[in-house]
């Protein structure tokens, strides 16, 4: 048993050390100091493992001071400035009891939580589950007790209750933690129930813990928590129950089965977790079987050839996914137009005045609105294209050839622009309809407004597609790897936001928008032709 526990510690320590090394190697300036050979079991690694463990323990000691100050003391100091030392001490104990005695103990179980160490040691290396749990859950509880003790002693001494009160609290907290473990393992033994996996259980414990900790701050009088916790009967009962629960846990005979059932590969594998997270990120562009039955009306797609045929089928079979945001946008435009028409019904005069100056006053805002509508749609289309098409075809050399990339880019640009222009056209028609209904004149400024909005639809069709081809951000494992993709998107977002501040005549503004659109489109086509061959690849 002792040998097994020592081995589990070694595995655990090596894992922590490998993780630490992995992250050190990601830091640009210092990565060279940590060569791959350090992963091998060597004297260097032994030293690093010792350093990592020492750091973890030091961090745990320091963390308890920080935790007690931030979570148990600071809220009371901030909310109740009227409290003296005694009142603060009562609130400190209240928060401590609900957060750490109750919440910390009952929210989750260390024994039932799946971990890579338990999985590796018990399921893969065949070690004893009891030894593994002693080295993981047991060690965690011991560490919690040891690291909480000095912090509680210092806080108790500072509040004038004496260091020994802190020690008593630490022992009592450990008893509650053991009771919490007992509750979870006992539930498991009664039909393999895991409350820690139930959303409602977690929500209930969390809400109760937070409410218990902080709602008393709103009461005129603090709860007499010191009297309660240090009441000899309560103290002896809680520590006694903790000791009994500890003995029950030590004698529990089915840990092997428990670890086998709770630690499964899919629960502990970081690769599987990453893959699941990545899959979830693409969930909004996953096809349904019903999408595949989309009808090719009039055989239009069937009559296409080559890349037009490929893209035709793509957009046909992703119609539901890609048209959904368009429908939402059209719905919002329709609602705005209806609101405008309702405004005309109730306040025609005011609406006439508003609509007369609408193009001049609101055009800068439409840069931002069109960004939100069109860029969102464009990004969704790019994501769908990657997930359902390009991730496979980019593995073929012919698909990465320059002329093929430009051909696909232009076909796709047409498809994205078509959808964005539909929304832009609806905005133009809606604005004209409300203007007419309000009795305001259809001026040249309105025509310029419409031209600018249509132009923006094209601009924001080019933008996401251009970014996708030049900064293709996704890996074969569906992770996002290129930070420039996000940064450039933020830059454009910021520029659009800045447009809200522009005060220029509509003609100048429209001219600027049209010129930017033409220039951006030309640059995008040239750069895709020149660079995409190198950049549009699976990372």
């Amino acid at each position: 048993m002792i040998k097994d526990v020592r081995n589990v510690f070694r595995v655990q320590s090596a894992m922590s050390c490998n993780r630490f090394l992995f992250w050190l190697k990601k830091i640009p300036l210092i990565r060279r100091m940590f060569p791959d050979r350090l992963y091998a079991a060597s004297a260097g690694k032994q030293r690093l493992m010792a350093a990592v463990e020492a750091l973890k323990i030091l961090g745990a000691f320091a963390g308890k001071f920080v935790y007690l100050f931030l979570c148990c003391l600071l809220p009371a100091m901030l909310i109740r400035e009227d409290l003296g030392t005694a009142g603060l001490w009562q609130h400190f104990l209240t928060a401590l009891f609900f957060l750490s005695f109750f919440g910390g103990a009952f929210l989750q179980s260390n024994i039932l939580t799946a971990s890579l160490v338990k999985y590796t040691c018990v399921r893969q290396m065949g070690m004893s589950a009891r030894a593994s749990l002693a080295a993981t859950a047991g060690w965690m509880h011991l560490l919690t007790f040891v690291t909480f003790t000095p912090a509680l002693m210092v806080f108790a001494a500072l509040f004038g209750s004496g260091w020994w009160a802190g020690l008593l609290l630490s022992v009592q907290m450990a008893a509650f933690r053991v009771l919490g473990e007992f509750f979870h393992v006992w539930m498991w033994s009664r039909g393999e129930k895991q409350p820690g996996k139930s959303f409602w259980y977690i929500a209930a414990v969390t809400v109760l813990a937070l409410a218990g900790a902080y709602v008393p701050l709103l009461l005129p009088e603090a709860l007499p928590m010191e009297r309660f916790l240090f009441n000899p009967a309560v103290y002896i009962a809680s520590v006694g129950c903790g000791a009994w629960a500890g003995i029950w846990l030590l004698r529990y005979p089915h840990y092997q089965a428990l670890v086998w059932k709770t630690c499964r590969a899919e629960n502990v594998s970081t690769a599987a977790a990453r893959q699941n997270a990545a899959q979830a990120a693409f969930k909004d562009v996953q096809m349904k079987d019903s999408d595949l039955a989309a009808e090719d009306a009039g055989g239009r797609v069937a009559a296409m050839k080559g890349y037009a045929y490929l893209n035709g089928l793509f957009f046909l079979r992703h119609r539901r996914l890609l048209n959904k945001p368009v429908k939402y946008a059209l719905g919002v435009v329709a609602a705005a137009v209806l609101a405008g028409l309702a405004g005309v019904l109730f306040a025609r005069e005011a609406m006439a005045g508003l609509m007369a100056e609408f193009p001049v006053r609101f055009l800068p805002i439409f840069v931002f609105i069109m960004y939100l509508i069109c860029n969102t749609l464009g990004q969704r289309i790019c994501k769908a294209m990657f997930y359902n098409c390009d991730i496979a075809l980019l593995r073929y050399g012919w698909y990465r050839e320059r002329k093929v990339l430009l051909r696909n880019f232009t076909i796709r640009l047409g498809q994205v622009a078509k959808r964005n222009l539909l929304v832009a056209a609806a905005i133009c028609v809606g604005t004209a309809a409300v203007t007419l209904a309000a009795g305001a004149p259809l001026t040249g400024a309105l025509a310029l407004f419409c031209l600018a909005v249509l132009s923006l639809a094209v601009f924001f069709s080019v933008h996401p597609l251009f970014l996708y081809y030049i900064f293709q951000p996704y890996t074969a494992q569906l992770a996002v790897k290129n930070p420039f993709f996000g940064i450039l998107n933020w830059v454009i977002y910021f520029v659009c936001w800045m447009c809200l501040q522009i005060k220029q005549p509509t003609s100048v503004f429209t001219l600027l928008v049209v010129a930017c659109t033409i220039a951006y489109s030309a640059v995008a086509l040239a750069v895709v032709w020149g660079r995409a061959e190198k950049t549009f690849r699976i990372k």
């Binding site: 791959d36 496979a392 050399g397 050839e401 093929v404």
Partner: protein, 237 residues
């Protein structure tokens, strides 16, 4: 025509996978690429297919007149060990599309149905989306790509392992039939398959390529000799 590899090097972090691999592959021959797990076979194929560039060295194609030019991505047909196909298309649609973008390269005059018949994708399956295809069926679809486009260099990364015996036999016959016009390089761990199909065996060992004496390929000592060579430590003569 020859495919020439000159001093190809590739590192991943501190690990040097290819350490100046050089070789000359001739048209009309099937080469079996053998190596231990992690030897760099897939890395070499990925470099050849343009998936990622080597750190140094060059891939060239030399025509019958001795004229050399760099290997282009369009020169290579690559069948991946884990086949990837656009899953939103049916098998028939993929073949139709692929034939259209390669119009003029395929003199056979076959229709998509003819091609699908050739690799044994039956009538019912060819109208199903490829997302529902098995590993072997997806592999066949990838193979159809090079059968149609006829690139000069064909790379197959453990291609026949997912086929049933009938399909594997058909694909072997097909490769033998078409080898005259191509340079075919395929990696495998199955020595029997390598011996059956290949004209030459090339070992990738310790990051370099070395040829196995062709005269022993069909002899009883072939297997032992290959294993012996692959077990040799680096720097051993």
């Amino acid at each position: 025509m020859k495919l020439i590899l000159e001093e190809i090097e590739k590192h991943f972090g501190e690990k040097q996978v290819l350490k100046g691999a050089s070789f000359s592959f001739d048209q009309g021959r099937i080469y079996g690429l053998l190596g231990r797990n992690g030897a760099g076979k897939t890395t070499l194929m990925n470099c050849l297919a343009g998936e990622f560039p080597p750190d140094s060295g060059a891939f060239c194609v030399e025509d019958g007149d001795g004229q050399r030019r760099p290997l282009a991505e369009g020169d290579v047909g690559y069948v991946l060990s884990t086949p990837v196909v656009p899953e939103f298309l049916t098998g028939w649609e993929f073949v139709k599309f692929f034939q259209e973008i390669n119009a003029g390269k395929d003199p056979s005059g076959r229709t998509p149905d003819d091609w699908l018949d050739l690799v044994g994708i039956d009538a019912e399956d060819r109208c199903r989306l490829m997302k529902d295809y098995s590993h072997g069926m997806k592999n066949k679809m990838q193979m159809l790509c090079f059968l149609i486009a006829r690139p000069p260099v064909i790379l197959l990364d453990e291609p026949l392992t997912s086929f049933d015996v009938v399909a594997a036999k058909e694909m072997k016959d097909l490769l033998i039939e078409m080898k005259e016009d191509h340079i075919i390089l395929f990696s495998t761990h199955i020595l029997q398959l390598a011996a059956d199909l290949c004209d030459e065996i090339v070992l990738l060992h310790h990051g370099v390529l070395e040829e196995v004496d062709p005269s022993i390929i069909h002899t009883p000592e072939f297997e032992n000799r290959v294993v012996e060579l692959l077990k040799e430590e680096e720097g051993h003569d």
